[in-house]
Symmetry: C2
Subunit: 205 residues, 2 copies
C-alpha cells in the first residue's frame, strides 16, 4: 500500500516508523479497517505521529504518550510499534489533543498538538475541533479535504522531557490467588484483587 | 492469510469478528507485526477473544473490557473492531488476566479468564503465568507449543452484565482554551486543563 501504487492520491499523507508511506485516501482506508470509520481526529493524529517520527533521532527506541483516549492512541498504534497492550504506549486522560514520542532511556522527545491559533484559519477543522456545530450538520467530506489541505499547518511541535517516574517499567510483581474470586492477581494490589475490592465493572448476579 | 493458505499450521487458532481464520503460526506472525514480539499472553489472549466472540449473539454490537493493560488490549484490537482510540475498548488496571465482550445497549455479555486450577496441568503455562522461574530460564518455544496444545482447556467463560455507569458514552462536552497552556481542553475538567492542574507527564523546562 505504498503511495506509488495508489492512483487516488498524489502525495504521501504519512509514513510509519518503518518508512512505509501512505497516500491520504489509502490511509483513510486503513483507518476505516482498524478504527471502524474515517474519524477526522485520527486523520490529523496520523499526521501528528508522522511529524513526531520525523523529529526523533534515527534508531532511537521510543515510547509514546497519548494525552487523550480519543483517536490518538490509534494513530500511534497504526504508525509505530507502541500499542496499548505492549506497554510502550501510555494513554492519559488529560483531555488535550496532543501526543508525544520520547526516548525510553532518557525521556527526551517531542510533543505535537493542534495549535488553537493556527486552526482558526481553517473553518471546517476549527468548527469540528471546537464542536461549533452539531455532528449531524458537519460536512464530513469537506472536513476531510480541509484536513488534507491543511496538513501540518495546524500543528505545533515542541521538545519535552518525560518525568522519570513515568519511565519506570510497570512490573506486575508476584502473583497470588485472590481469596474471593479465586483468580490470579498481583499481590501488590492488596489482600484481594481490585475487582473484589470494589472496582469490578460487572453487576453482581 | 486464511488458514487454508498457510502450510505451517493444520488447524485454526482464532477467528476474528469478521470470520477470518488464522492458523497458530500465521497468527504468531500477525502478533509480532502488531505487538513487536510473540508474547505468550497475547497468544492466549487471542484464544480468549475467539471464545468470547463465538459466545456472543450473531449481529450483536459489542464493546470490550480488558481487565489488565498487559497483552489483552492487543488481542481485542487484533480480532475485533474495538480499539483503544475508538471508545469501544476499556482498558482497566484490575490485574486479572481476563476480558469481556458485552452488548453495548444492555450490557449483557461474556467474560473469559485463565482458570488457575486448569492451568496447573500445563507445566510451562503455569510456570509462565505465576512467574515461577525467571524469564531468562523460560523455554519460549516449549511454552508456545504448550499454549497451542492447551488451547481453550486453560480458560473459563462466564456470563456477565456490565454496570450501567460504564455504559454511558464518555462525552468530551464543551471545549475551551486553558488559560495556562493555551491549548484546547474539556471545560468539565475545571478552570485549567489537567496537565496544568498538576498531572503533566513532562518535566518543566
Amino acid at each position: 500500500m505504498q503511495t506509488a501504487g495508489n492512483v487516488h492520491s498524489s502525495d504521501d499523507w504519512v509514513r510509519d516508523s518503518k518508512g512505509t508511506a501512505y497516500g491520504f485516501d489509502a490511509f483513510l482506508e486503513r483507518i476505516t479497517a482498524f478504527h471502524g470509520y474515517p474519524a477526522p481526529g485520527l486523520v490529523i493524529g496520523a499526521k501528528m505521529v508522522d511529524l513526531a517520527l520525523h523529529a526523533m533521532p534515527s534508531g532511537c527506541l521510543f515510547d509514546a504518550i497519548a494525552e487523550t483516549g480519543h483517536c490518538l492512541p490509534d494513530a500511534i498504534q497504526m504508525l509505530t510499534p507502541c500499542t496499548a497492550g505492549n506497554g510502550w504506549l501510555k494513554v492519559m486522560d488529560l483531555g488535550r489533543f496532543a501526543l508525544a514520542l520520547y526516548d525510553k532511556y532518557n525521556g527526551d522527545g517531542v510533543r505535537v498538538f493542534i495549535h488553537t491559533h493556527k486552526v482558526a484559519a481553517w473553518k471546517e477543522i476549527d468548527s469540528w475541533f471546537f464542536k461549533r456545530k452539531p455532528k449531524a450538520e458537519q460536512d464530513s467530506d469537506a472536513l476531510l479535504r480541509e484536513i488534507q489541505r491543511a496538513g501540518e499547518k495546524i500543528l505545533q511541535m515542541e521538545t519535552i522531557r518525560v518525568q522519570p517516574r513515568l519511565m519506570v517499567k510497570d512490573s506486575v510483581g508476584t502473583r497470588g490467588i485472590c481469596p474471593q474470586c479465586g483468580e490470579s492477581y498481583p499481590l501488590k494490589h492488596g489482600s484481594a484483587c481490585r475487582a473484589c475490592q470494589g472496582s469490578s465493572p460487572y453487576a453482581t448476579a
